[in-house]
């Protein structure tokens, strides 16, 4: 059985694909939860700046799509790690790409989940899918939606677009990430 409420914030530098992660996750959650919200925060007028997005799944109406202290965070750059290590709810989990984030964290009341996302992505042949590796890992651990649903959302995202050729690679990255999380 799924619990009734999930919240996660993805954070990283523009161009790294964190907003995409949120959109795909939200899409996947739509089938399973009565209420889903997605909120991206970035500088529309500046490329390459910090961006983050929050996805909430709930069976009750979502009062606000914003949360300052999420239970889960997926971070792709060192600054985001520092920020979300601070902001995370006690008992929360922070997922980080440990290929690029060396900090290990100070808090004892949260779990830091290390994913060698960039390494894995390079291994898969394209650094650009590091985000998908992280997403797969996140879902593997938190299990808010089944990985199959996530893959279908990935398919929906890429199919029929200019970037359809990247679909399989992205799905593979999700699966590999998922495995990384399930392993331990």
């Amino acid at each position: 059985m799924q619990p009734k409420y999930f919240e996660v914030t993805f954070s990283g530098l523009g161009g790294k694909g964190v907003l995409t992660l949120g959109q795909i996750l939200a899409e996947a959650g739509m089938q399973l939860f009565k209420h889903v919200s997605y909120f991206p925060n970035y500088s529309p007028a500046m490329r390459g700046g910090e961006s983050e997005c929050t996805v909430i799944f709930s069976d009750n109406p979502i009062a606000s799509p914003l949360t300052f202290n999420p239970a889960h965070a997926v971070v792709m750059d060192p600054a985001s790690f520092t920020t979300f290590e601070m902001r995370l709810k006690p008992g929360g989990i922070i997922f980080c790409d440990d290929s690029v984030i060396s900090a290990k964290g100070e808090r004892n009341d949260i779990e830091v989940f290390h994913v060698p996302a960039s390494e894995k992505a390079i291994e898969l042949g394209d650094l650009q899918v590091a985000n998908m590796v992280l997403l797969g890992a996140y879902i593997g651990k938190v299990e808010s939606v089944p990985v199959g649903m996530l893959e279908r959302a990935v398919t929906k995202r890429f199919q029929g677009t200019r970037r359809e050729s990247l679909l399989e690679l992205n799905k593979k990255a999700v699966r590999e990430g998922n495995l990384l999380a399930r392993k331990p």
Partner: protein, 256 residues
């Protein structure tokens, strides 16, 4: 040939007027190359201390002031010529120029620009033609090529969206304009030509010849959805067909 000592001399570095701030532009954006053109011309003319730039809304709104170390104001969308007109009337000895995107000058600011021309203001306008709205993410600009896809002409620019806007020719058409030219920086040769053209434009202002206008064709890899290298090819193959390079007007004084 003796085996004498060798000296290492800097032949190309950061111009003095280029501040230390990293640029705000996307990778491969030609605005960065144009920044060099402007810095070097101002330095060569020793006008860095006399220049006031008025940057329009667009990618150069903050981008230009941050990277070129002269007096600047960033201007509300399309209104740089009005602000520059006032500054030039107040400081007639200063070198006053506007730096405006193709949306800024060709759409919202078209009237403001032409009215400054019609008032015989003694200004220089640097017109950045990247065939689209960079800052806002790639909408139709007056300069967008026919058939070119933008986020607001997703099937490509059609008849009812108008024909592409030709800034340099329109400027040259006006009696109050002493100098008008179109350049690019997409090859090293054109980079050099662009410097010569901008030098002439600034000189026209300082000699009171009349309005001077320089249009830069500029690659916008982000909005064009191409790599920087492909964007250079796109300029050569498509942009220059619609927008021929050259001087369209060069007279000593509009008052003769």
């Amino acid at each position: 040939m003796s085996t004498s000592e060798q000296k290492k001399v800097l032949v190309c570095g950061k111009p003095e007027l280029r501040t230390g701030f990293p640029s705000l532009y996307c990778p491969g954006c030609h605005y960065g190359i144009i920044t060099r053109v402007i810095c070097e011309v101002l330095e060569e003319l020793k006008l860095g201390g006399k220049a006031i730039g008025f940057a329009g809304v667009g990618c150069s709104f903050g981008g230009a002031p941050i990277s070129i170390g002269i007096d600047w104001a960033s201007c509300p969308h399309g209104r740089a010529p009005a602000m520059a007109s006032a500054a030039k009337r107040i400081h007639p000895d200063a070198l006053v120029f506007t730096l405006q995107g193709d949306g800024d000058l060709g759409a919202i600011g078209l009237g403001c620009f032409l009215s400054a021309v019609l008032r015989n203001e003694n200004l220089t306008t640097i017109f950045l033609n990247n065939a689209g709205y960079g800052q806002t993410g790639g909408q139709l600009a007056p300069t967008t090529l026919t058939g070119m896809k933008t986020t607001t002409t997703q099937q490509g620019r059609r008849r009812e969206d108008g024909f592409p806007f030709h800034g340099a020719e329109l400027a040259a058409y006006h009696k109050a304009v002493a100098y008008s030219a179109r350049v690019t920086v997409h090859t090293p040769g054109n980079f050099k030509k662009a410097k010569r053209v901008l030098t002439t434009a600034f000189q026209k202002q300082m000699s009171g010849a009349g309005y001077s206008f320089v249009e830069f064709i500029s690659a916008c890899p982000s909005v064009w959805g191409m790599s920087p290298v492909d964007s250079v090819a796109y300029i050569q193959e498509h942009m220059l067909k619609e927008f021929p390079l050259g001087e369209f007007k060069n007279i000593d004084s509009i008052y003769d």
